[in-house]
Amino acid sequence: MKEGKMIAMLLAGGQGSRLKLLTKEVAKPAVPFGGKYRIIDFPLSNCSNSGIFDVGILTQYKPYQLNSHIGIGSSWDLDRRTGGVRVLPPYTNEQGGRWYKGTANAIYENISFIDELSPEFVLILSGDHIYKMDYSVMLEYHQEKKADVTISVVEVPWDEASRFGLMHVNPDMSVIEFEEKPKKPKSNLASMGIYIFDWKALRKYLVADEKDSNSSNDFGHDIIPKMMNDGKKLFAYQFEGYWKDVGTIKSYWESNMDLLAESNTLDLYDRDWKIYSKNRHLPPHYISKDASVVNSLINEGCRIEGSLYNTILFNEIRVGKNAKIVNSVILSGAVIEEGAEVYNAVVMENVIVKSGTKIGTKDDTIVYLVSKNKIIES
């Protein structure tokens, strides 16, 4: 089959306010994850590994750290002379400035960027999820089904289904109905917010949608329902594998802990599907003779003299003698001083947990978000 050119547009403008202090200074896609990454590394690495080298990143909220993380895209091999990764913030024209109104509007405002790359297909991604996925397989599926839109879906437990946008499908996976967070779900196939569109078709809908003053200019609310109404061919593509929406502090902590579970299916050590991130130039970490490290992930530049159990450490963290950290996620530059104890916590960047402090207890079911000034329980 002739390969059609596909570019990706990654929606990275959201604040993710349910992540509270974690997104005070950065957009949600820039939130650190898994000891070494930021959330956006997952879709970006997926693009690179899938052979998609043209990626537009739509930013809006506090893009500074995100920009500095993405840089020229070299970490993901996306620093291409033409195309490559391109950050697309809002801009002004003769009529003044216009901020992005919704997901579809953000794409609409960058039609000229897409036109210049003249793709056959456009992949819409969000920067909010942890997963590894080969988008080129989804594209093959899209072409086989001769679909106008293909929406990636994942099976979720029935009792959680009503939190998601759900796809009700025929046996051939064509979409019968799309329901946003229904009270009585008819299906447990949740939309992952990943769409493949034929660019020509999408372009028309974006232009029409922009003219519709009643529209909220959103893919899920406006574009997809309109295409359904017009009898366009919508197919669901079922994704198998680890997928997690890290929407809250609790689910953020859980999905980090997932990496340490025996049953973990998100293999970060797979050399054929590496997750890339910005590289710091730090030496290896040091484990002292007094330390104990069990079932934990440790990144570069750390110095460990205490004991860690079921814990993820980011870079340049110091853990003093007799300090104890259990079931926790410690972000870069934090210091856990001698004798301090930390259970079930997410400790933010550069926080110093003083000697003698005790956060949480061994049998806690609460998760603590520890910042410089306060501790939030969730």
């Binding site: 000891g35 490290v293 934990s296």
Partner: protein, 377 residues
């Protein structure tokens, strides 16, 4: 330091390293879990603001090219200045064997000639340090000397520096002479084989040596002519490891287990850059027990590790014991294997239950991709 061009000479003696230097020069020896020896001098130069660097690769070109690439890891992939590799030119019609590196410097004359910089910084790679070259350079420029030699006062109790150059100063602290350390004195000034030199003096020395046939090596030519020029010195006081044989190489690695040494080497005057590998964090599994060790990213450890340096992507399975060892990239140490005083090169595989025991002064060494399934005691 934009008026200073860096020149690194990789043609060092590499027959002291057994299997480790079979297909790599000394400068490409893996070090401290994720680096190569050359990373230190390159990072020193870049951190001090030298952006034009020529590297004379020696014969083991492939290994050098693999590591340096376009120089992007050191931010040296530039249009203006940047990294230049000088590979040997093979002349099939040559009827004589070339000795030394002087000829190669002469052949690549035009690189230095047409560079805009007026000063040269010449260095080898095997004296490993984190040094502020900018400070040394400023002293050199202010002194008005033709040549500046960098040294460190050392007390060589273990005779680690036998055969290295030593610098003699007069009572006023001025340069007097340079010679070879035979071990007679414990305290002396160790030359780091790093020199600043004015470009015109460099050419004087090079051309003179070639015309007179008085030297085969650049260093030889330089030393022969020192009396003609004004020579200044710069004293360095930080940590130095001299990588000129296996024993010193192993000691240099183990030295970083001392936090003072590792702080000095990795942070004192800027970061040390190396080729990026995109490894995830290291995963300590439920049976892991690690003591006093330096562990790089991408490892999966379920065994016992003590007093060791573990490079990127190493696997140590349950029941395995690794002590006093240097385990290079992507080595695979299977269940219940037992290693003490061992140096494993990249991608070595040690089968389940295998025991390898070396001696403190004579480590057991296994080459690249070695696969050892039987016990060696």
């Amino acid at each position: 330091m934009k008026n200073c061009l860096g020149i690194v000479n990789l043609s060092e003696i590499d027959n002291n390293f057994g299997v480790l230097c079979q297909s790599r020069p000394t400068s490409m020896l893996p070090f401290a879990g994720r680096y190569r020896v050359i990373d230190f001098i390159l990072s020193n130069m870049v951190n001090s603001g030298i952006t034009g660097i020529g590297i004379f690769t020696g014969n083991k070109v492939r290994s050098v090219m693999d590591h340096l690439g376009s120089g992007s890891s050191w931010d040296l992939d530039r249009k203006i200045n940047g990294l230049f590799l000088f590979t040997p030119t093979y002349d099939y019609t040559a009827t004589y064997k070339r000795v030394g590196d002087l000829d190669l410097f002469y052949q690549n004359n035009s690189f230095i000639k047409y560079a805009k910089q007026e000063h040269l910084f010449l260095s080898k790679t095997y004296m490993l340090a984190n040094i502020d070259l900018n400070e040394a350079y400023e002293e050199f420029v202010e002194s008005g000397a033709d040549i500046c030699m960098i040294y460190k006062p050392v007390e060589d109790i273990n005779q680690a520096y036998i055969g290295c150059d030593m610098i003699h100063l007069d009572q006023k602290g001025h340069f007097e002479s340079v010679g070879t350390n035979l071990g007679k004195n414990k305290k002396f000034n160790l030359s780091l084989e790093m020199y600043f030199i004015k470009k015109e003096i460099y050419f004087d020395i090079l051309f003179d040596a070639i015309e007179k046939g008085s030297a085969n090596f650049l260093k030889q030519a330089l030393f022969n002519n020192l009396h003609k020029y004004s020579v200044s010195t710069y004293q360095f006081d930080g940590h130095v490891s001299c990588i000129n044989n296996i024993k010193n190489y192993a000691d240099a690695n183990f030295a970083i287990l001392d936090s003072e040494v590792s702080n000095d080497l990795f942070f004192k005057h800027g970061q040390i850059f190396t080729k990026v590998k995109d490894e995830p964090s290291t995963y300590y599994k439920s049976h892991a027990k690690v003591k006093n060790s330096f562990i790089a990213n991408g490892c999966q450890i379920d065994g016992y590790v003590e007093n060791s340096i573990i490079f990127r992507g190493v696997k140590i399975e349950k029941g395995a014991i690794v002590k006093n060892s240097i385990i290079m990239q992507k080595a695979d140490i299977q269940k219940n294997a037992h290693l003490n005083h061992v140096i494993l090169d990249k991608r070595a595989k040690i089968g389940a239950g295998v025991t390898l025991i070396g001696e403190p002064n004579n480590p057991y060494m296994a080459g690249k991709k070695a696969s050892i399934d039987k016990e060696v005691l």
